[in-house]
Symmetry: D2
């Protein structure tokens, strides 16, 4: 039985870890870390867990936790883990970090976009970017530190990955227009996240400046073996869960000037995803809907080719708290402990 510690257990992503691990047969949570609710019963913070979780919340003592757990999930603000992580800790316990601290290889890029100094850049090279479908080979029982991808990032990357990897699109034209449910904004009591401010409303935010941008660019850059610079525009949607990414790029024409056919493009998607349990390439003509993946670890993707403009419109949908956070973190944990990758993740999407 894997002993799990969670730092940040009372945020929405932390809560989702608790929900998923409650039905994981090889893992058991031993530490519900929450600075805000120390000594309160976890089920008083999240009443849905009444009679399911009996534990109380504890503080963020990473040292002590390292001695008691086999793996730590950190669902914490940027900079938190980077400020505390040590070699000593990593020798005792595996870490899956749901923050951005170790996602970006170039520390200068991190510091520029996040506006904070990175306190432990020495661990960046070791950290594996935990997008299992792409980096599965690097996530093994030897892996000590996984940087769990962001929610927007997972959706944006997986939606475009086969096109970039196969060189079918001109990456300089790539635009990602993403829409997110409000749980992505976290559980902080902030005015813009009040019900009456979000409900019956829609807006873009972080235009040309959102922190997930360099993460998408870096990973797609690896895929395409080139420098990638994109437009990424997040939007806030009046729903709890779900991210929908609509992505645009010009298709590369063949030598004869023709566009790749839908079949060729579909073959590229199938090449990378046919064997992937958690990525579903939908049937032709079916647009992904966030509700169809709600509560599950699936990413649904599909595309439309527009002959008129020579562009492909790629679409992807996932649950930001599952495949975009906690589910993917558990998927990484499974790989790090030699378990079946889908252990505890046989979550059937809930509709309606």
């Amino acid at each position: 039985m894997i002993r799990v510690g969670i730092i940040g257990a009372t945020g929405y992503a932390g809560g989702e870890l608790v929900r998923i691990l409650a039905n994981h047969k090889d893992a058991k949570i031993v530490w519900y870390g929450s600075r805000s609710y120390i000594d309160q019963r976890y089920s008083q913070v999240y009443q849905n867990m009444f009679r399911i979780v009996e534990d109380v919340c504890r503080d963020d003592n990473l040292q002590e936790l390292a001695a008691q757990a086999d793996v730590i999930f950190t669902a914490t603000p940027q900079g938190f883990l980077a400020g505390l992580l040590t070699e000593e800790i990593l020798q005792k316990v595996k870490v899956v970090d749901l923050s951005a601290d170790y996602r970006i290889k170039d520390v200068k890029v991190y510091e520029k976009w996040y506006g904070i100094e990175h306190k432990s850049p020495q661990f960046i090279p070791e950290a594996v970017y935990g997008l299992c479908e792409i980096n599965r080979g690097q996530i093994t029982e030897k892996t000590r530190l996984v940087a769990n991808p962001g929610c927007y990032t997972t959706c944006s990357i997986l939606t475009a990955y086969p096109m970039v990897k196969e060189g079918l699109i001109d990456v300089s034209t790539l635009i990602v227009d993403a829409k997110s449910g409000t749980s992505g904004a976290g559980r902080g009591a902030k005015l813009p996240n009040l019900f009456c401010e979000v409900n019956e409303n829609m807006k873009a935010y972080g235009v040309a400046s959102h922190r997930h941008t360099p993460e998408i660019e870096e990973q797609l850059g690896y895929a395409g073996d080139c420098q990638v610079t994109i437009n990424f525009t997040p939007h806030l949607v009046p729903m709890n869960r779900g991210i929908l990414a609509t992505e645009y790029a010009s298709l590369k024409r063949k030598a004869d000037g023709s566009l790749p056919t839908c079949e060729e493009i579909r073959a590229a998607y199938e090449k990378y995803y046919a064997g992937e349990k958690f990525v579903r390439v939908l049937e032709p003509g079916v647009c992904p809907e966030t509700k169809w993946v709600e509560g599950s670890n699936y990413v649904d993707v599909n595309f439309v080719v527009d002959e008129r403009t020579g562009r492909i419109i790629m679409m992807g949908a996932l649950d930001n708290l599952v495949k975009g956070a906690a589910g993917q973190a558990v998927q990484n944990m499974n790989l790090m402990f030699g378990l079946p990758e889908d252990e505890g993740l046989e979550l059937v999407p809930c509709f309606p």
Copy 2:
């Protein structure tokens, strides 16, 4: 492995049966009945089931289905099953009926409230009212026909049951004010259920005439061993899932004129529910919220005593598609096949 047939598999309750049974280790769906979508793949109707369910929808042939299944769930309009059920079918297969056809023992009451003739009243005496927490003793491997309780009904009854059973309230004063998410209205394409008609709106409907009224009255009548006549007022709420029942009744005073204490009332609730997995009596002061049970088979109940008026306010919350329909149906199936009652129902509520 129990072979399951579903009639009405593409309604919301039918879809929820499919979701729940997908993770049931001792049951397997062999027949997805849906008159509206015959020969279409089930996952084209409910895309959330893409790559999870490969079957196509079939018609409603109860005879043929009886030969292939061990149990049939009928999530069908009122009168459907009553018009088709025969002794021959019941000799071959168990039936859990999610409609109202066999819930009410007095066929005249059924015919009056539902406005249709009952075509097979001969099965009414045999049918067990499948509210497991109350009628568990009658739901056994010998049971052939279970009348699965309605969503409003389950919530309304379980919220008041200990008070009625223990004679702590004056049942003639009982009022049930219930609020339901919109999935309770079904998947029919009707104008009042359009997004723009329901969203940002709230209303009562079926005031003093809703069909779940006699069902609540009958069951609470058994509990209190008396005639029960109540006011039941359903309301439509702009959310997908969830029923909240707020119930009012005058407490019976003791010989000395005093009201029962909160501790005495709590003891009554604990007497009936302490051993029940799916009924959670919340801690003092905590009001049930529908979101805390979403996606799960739990009913959360609690109460407040108002010394000023001498009344108790009882509150209950459940997910209308789970404990109010499909989850309870599976709970009944488990009992009918000698399985652990919570098999496949270890559903952790999803928040947010």
Copy 3:
């Protein structure tokens, strides 16, 4: 042109005052008071007012404001106005208080339910309870201080008023089950009001203890000329605006044991409301819906008689920010300045 000052202009009720007064041809806002946003442009707080309101927010200086305005609206927390109001102010300016400070005649009742000491009880006798449909005669050009009724209160009282006034119901059996949109909770950044906590959720709160209870009891007590003690249960609904009150009471039987007829009851409603512009008694069989009054100053009411239980179910719906706050406040202002009561309130409900 009436010069209007608003204290608390950046709360939801304050914002609604600004919206309504923007189209009022005889009033002009001269002071947008907001402690939180002093010196910020009002339209930066509420971008809907961009290019409509050019003013900046100012502090809460009641003295200075009294010198510049003809009427002050205070949309402020309980106790605020009571702590600042003086005879000197009232000699200079009329005040419409949207808080509860002067609504309850018995200061002990106020202090018990609100848990604060009342700092200026000397003004309570003078304050007129500003429910225009009932107290119109007392709201005149001589009136200096109006206690604007609460949102739940307005809805609850107007829904039952004719029944109580005409002695048609047994008031000791009166139960008010009320449901409110989330704007009623105000614009404070509190966790329970976050989008993800409210959306897809429903709950009761303040059960048997909500502060609007004594206000309803007092006013219905005047109507019935008797002591009224009720159960009042508020619920939070995932919508922005709207209150729906469902009220239950036993009808008084006539000498011959029969219930009052629907026609007799309707006649009672018409007696009080036939001439009222802002109270619409709906046609038989039509249940009020909050969406039908959204953005307007209407209250829609109706009733159903249940012969089985001898009870009447009364229903009322209003927009909590309009008839439940700002609209009613403007209605009071109109009366206090001798204007047509509906001036600036010809707001057509917005659907969908």
Copy 4:
């Protein structure tokens, strides 16, 4: 007093015309046309209009209506008006068509995108495209037929218009990612528009094939004096009202390779919109939100320049039923009758 007839008065756009015209001091509705509800009282279809509108619904007799009205609004399905319009009618009455029948000058383009034959192409040349901010000069008291722009179209065009007109962007790179509330889908009882299908969900639809595409292309083509071919992707959002368009295009570099500055771009927006009452260019850094224009005739626009990619991200928001339909239709009517353009349109946005 202008006598107004509405065909399609019980759809959402028709209902909004009724709401707006209820407060228009120079217009009076004399004909509420609705095939579905003939002889029913209008206020029984839209209870918000109870006691405001007393008329009954009438059929679609255009001939008879032409004799009784000064202007007809047709809020009808595509092809309806084209099949009935005659020279005789136009000699008697002005027509503002809210359908697409006369929006597109090239009848072949219309027939291709709409898949129906145009029955009266002879009126296309005469019809004025009623986007007042751009075509005001052509909408005069002599105008007989106005093609009222579509909701997506109005938003998409006005958001990009100054950039295209001033030649600041490469129109071949223009991409419009649009998000709409559900009232845009109309009031038809269709399964995909049910509350439970839309709520907590988001999807793209009509990808690369939506009928508003050629309308946007034609109008921006006039602005840029060039052929325009764009990607336009509509999305369905779980809210009643509002359209948000997020638009992407590469900025044209100057001779020295530099991008236009934010000030230069802002100047272009101001050049066209500074004098426009209904177009609000927001302050730098403020992203439009649909809620800020709800219920009003405003379009809010703004932009962000991304130096990294050389693109501009333009954003626009409007209420699809007001500026996207009924409000714009009234704006056109005002111009056609020599009234102030904003008569009856002083609608203050409603928040929250």
